[in-house]
């Protein structure tokens, strides 16, 4: 649910993460965190609490300031104010994202995965999280495709071919008996296999490898650094979530290809590391100079980006469940529900897919529309400082969106960027909103109720 909001992190998300992860803001002993701090696109707090016995004892209740009335409103306002300030800092430019993603998920299936330091075992936990990851990933990257490769007994094993259907991928990793861990892992073999399966992909899509790695060794037939160089050449981004400890080669793989590396400290941290890779990597339309680590393949950011292309897509019509059954082109089965290709009118069971008859890429338009709020963000509202600004305009006594009455008194000690009279004004339509609606409009709706855009 948190990760649902792509990169536009909402206040509530922020709070939740902060609360669940660490109320005490204990700086974990996270050696893995430094890398991610550099990444500006990610703004979630990363100071994840380490094992509880390692954490410093902090009096979390003392960090919360009560006002003279004993209320915590001040502390809450601070959160809101931080969100507002952050939004004002954001550039107005549209964000570019590689939304058409291709990912190979490489799962370590070596004997080290049977360790019980994560309950019930590393292996069982990995499978469970992988399933959740796949669902979430496809939910946010509806046009993406994913393959799964297993590392065991010194070779890479194809578990699931590149597919755009989450059910296919889920099915392949649902049966744990087929994936029983044995032997040593081989990073090189598996990466080579993944690389080969992504070689033919069009340039406009991203190529990513995500490795869940439990072992501390790798058993390779050749020089893994050659493989690394080829990956850099092919613009493949490698990210690794290690379950044991940091290895030099893993760190190198990630750093050189522009991926992320992290060592999971406990079960919760493991999941966090994994789910950070769900939202599509963001790139700015105009290159921001300091975007060092996140650059990588396709992130050159020049306006003549070779990795972009214009694609033809069709938006289908969905047939109702009660329509007379007819044959579908994908399974040749009689079904009543399905989608009609707009070009050749072939009946297809599921979208997104390529039409088997005319080859048109068929997507449902809501899939595309999910990312549009990045393109046309709502302008930040200006905080109305005092009642002087209210008097001249024929302003209403209540919020323009939710009709909540505005406070009539000036509140004291407001945080920076907040309005003392609780009003926030849209620069376009000059209507006033309350602070709740300000947050809601910018973080969830992405559409100003006053001007309707």
């Amino acid at each position: 649910m948190n990760v649902d909001s792509d990169s536009d992190i909402s206040i509530s998300d922020y709070e939740e993460t902060e609360n669940t992860v660490s109320r005490s803001k204990a700086k974990g002993k996270g050696k893995a965190t430094d890398k991610r701090k550099k990444d500006k696109a990610k703004r979630k707090p990363k100071d994840v609490q380490a094992y509880t016995w390692e954490a410093n004892f902090t009096r979390s209740w003392e960090t919360v300031q009560e006002d003279e009335g004993g209320s915590l409103q001040g502390a809450v306002n601070d959160w809101v104010a931080r969100g507002r300030r952050k939004r004002l800092l954001e550039p107005q430019n549209a964000i570019r994202r590689t939304i058409i993603r291709h990912m190979v998920l490489i799962v370590d299936l070596s004997t080290s995965m049977m360790d019980r330091d994560m309950r019930p075992t590393r292996f069982a936990l990995t499978l469970q999280y992988a399933r959740e990851f796949v669902l979430e990933w496809f939910d946010q990257n509806p046009l993406g495709q994913m393959a799964v490769v297993g590392m065991r007994a010194g070779v890479g094993e194809r578990v699931c071919d590149m597919s755009g259907n989450p059910q296919d991928v889920l099915k392949s990793i649902s049966d744990r008996h087929k994936l029983e861990p044995t032997g040593e892992p081989s990073l090189q073999n598996s990466i080579e296999m993944a690389r080969n399966s992504m070689n033919h992909l069009p340039t406009h899509s991203s190529r990513e490898i995500l490795i869940i790695f439990g072992s501390l060794t790798t058993c390779d037939p050749g020089n893994i650094h050659d493989t690394l160089d080829q990956c850099v050449q092919n613009r493949i981004r490698i990210s690794i979530v290690a379950l044991a400890a940091e290895m030099k080669i893993c760190r190198d793989l990630c750093d050189k290809t522009g991926g992320q590396f992290g060592v999971a400290m406990n079960e919760g941290h493991f999941k966090d590391l994994l789910f950070e890779l769900v939202p599509p990597p963001a790139q700015r339309a105009l290159p921001r100079s300091s975007n060092a680590g996140g650059g990588g393949p396709g992130g050159g950011g020049s306006s003549t980006n070779p990795a972009s292309d214009l694609m033809v897509m069709g938006f289908p019509t969905r047939l109702p469940d009660t329509s007379p059954p007819s044959l579908c082109v994908c399974h040749s089965e009689l079904r009543s529900k399905g989608f009609l290709c707009p070009r050749c009118l072939a009946k297809i069971c599921d979208v997104p897919t390529d039409c088997d008859i005319c080859g048109l890429m068929i997507v449902s338009s809501p899939h595309l529309a999910r990312s549009y709020h990045h393109l046309f963000p709502v302008k930040p509202y200006a905080a109305v400082a005092s009642f002087d600004a209210v008097a001249d305009v024929s302003s209403s006594p209540s919020c323009h969106a939710c009709s909540k009455p505005f406070p009539t008194t000036v509140s004291q000690n407001v945080a920076d960027g907040m309005s003392a009279i609780g009003r926030y004004r849209c620069p376009d339509c000059n209507t006033d909103f309350c602070s709740d609606c300000d947050v809601f409009v910018h973080d969830v709706i992405h559409c100003c109720p006053g001007c309707g855009k």
Binding site: M1, D4, S12, N19, T20, A94, I95, R96, T98, I99, I100, H204, A285, S303, T304, N305, P306, A307, S308, D309, L310, M311, V312, M313, G314, F315, T317, R318, P320, T322, S323, L340, P342, L345, L360, S364, S365, P366, L368, A369, Y372, H373, L375, S398, C399, H400, A401, C402, S403, P405, D436, C437, F440, V444, I445, H446, C447, P449, G452, K453
Partner: protein
């Protein structure tokens, strides 16, 4: 806590309602009889449960207004009367008063009427539900929110859109954004197109939020449709089903000319949709390779469907089924659908022929002031 919340978005575009009341229409319906049936429906919602809450938003040309909300009821209450329920009187008189006031305030000077601010009203409705949710959380257990548990949500909040205007293609992105925020708030969007052509956007809104969409053909049976399809809150719909949708059109509006297209050209970086090949993406300024452009342009003549037409041109090869289904001019939906074994009827089969015209019955409260 137990009551369900209903926000109604009413399209009050005078010109569309004028068209709808013309006698040459099949089943003409004018604004005042529509409002009396609407009020009967709203009263039925309030009647169902003491705790039910209600908000009504009006979409006037160019502006959207909150007509009534049960959270902040108006201060002056209408004079009480022994023959009617006080809550109903309050709703009826407030809504009537506000509608009349805003319709009179409309600017008649310009020739062309601005399109109804449906999107504004819809986003307001969502903001309002968000406010209720926040207030609900604050009042019951704010412990939940601070302890990192999933915040409680209102049970069954929903939005009903009663539209008479055609799709406004310029509002494609706001509508889609509203749909996604409705999904996030777990709000069901129901939609009823009372007059005019089918709307692609409202179909998608209802489909994506699990609501019900009805294209009203028998407008004399409006109240019966409203009652059967939109009165039951989502929890009851698991027992007594509501009309399901026929086809859902997943077409989108292009960014360049705001046309509704079924085959579009999509920027691979930002996923903007264009109705014709363009050299540079207008949204993210990405330049596309010349080769692609040439290839696409060459292939274009064979694509029959990229012209700037609102309705899908039935292509030469299309089956008759398609032509019927898509063009709104020839309604082909049967009024009585034979039911398959165990299958549920769809929207066509609400039994409309023996309806008491609630329009004639009239809602007496407050209607006097409508003039």
């Amino acid at each position: 806590m137990d009551g369900s919340h209903l926000s109604v978005v009413v399209d009050l575009s005078p010109s569309q309602w004028h068209l709808s009341s013309l006698q040459n229409q099949p089943y003409p319906l004018d604004l005042s009889s529509f409002i009396s049936q609407l009020l009967a429906f709203l009263n039925a919602h309030i009647a169902s449960r003491h705790e039910n809450s209600l908000a009504v938003f009006g979409a006037f040309p160019g502006k959207s207004v909150l007509l009534y909300s049960s959270a902040d009821p108006p201060t002056e209450t209408p004079p009480s009367d022994a023959n009617s329920f006080p809550a109903f009187r309050l709703v009826n008189s407030t809504i009537m008063h506000n509608i009349v006031q805003h319709l009179e305030a409309l600017d008649d000077s310009s020739d062309e009427e601005a399109p109804s601010a449906l999107v504004g009203a819809l986003t307001k409705a969502l903001c309002y539900i968000n406010r209720l949710t926040l207030e609900f959380n604050a009042s019951t257990a704010n412990a939940n929110a601070t302890e990192g548990l999933e915040p409680l949500t209102l049970s069954d909040p929903r939005v009903l859109i009663l539209s008479v205007s055609p799709d406004q293609t310029a509002s494609y992105i706001p509508v889609m954004n509203s749909i996604f925020s409705a999904q996030k708030l777990k709000v069901t969007i129901d939609a009823c197109q009372i007059y005019g052509s089918e709307t692609v956007f409202l179909q998608q809104a209802a489909h994506l939020t699990g609501g019900s969409y009805i294209y009203l053909e028998r407008r004399d049976a409006l109240l019966q449709y409203l009652t059967m399809a939109f009165l039951p809150p989502p929890s009851i719909r698991q027992t007594i089903s509501v009309p399901t949708q026929d086809k859902i059109d997943f077409r989108a509006a292009c960014f360049c000319h705001k046309n509704i297209v079924d085959v579009g050209f999509v920027c691979s970086v930002c996923l903007s949709i264009f109705c014709q090949p363009v050299p540079v993406c207008s949204t993210c300024r990405t330049k596309f390779p010349i080769k692609t452009l040439q290839r696409l342009n060459a292939a274009r003549p064979s694509l029959p469907l990229t012209s700037a037409s609102q309705s899908r041109n039935p292509s030469v090869s299309s089956t008759p089924q398609k032509t019927n289904g898509r063009s709104s001019a020839t309604p082909s939906r049967p009024v009585e659908t034979p039911l398959g074994p165990g299958g549920l009827p769809h929207s066509g089969s609400i039994n409309a022929h023996n309806i008491n015209g609630a329009a004639h019955h009239g809602v007496q409260n407050g209607l006097g002031s409508s003039g």
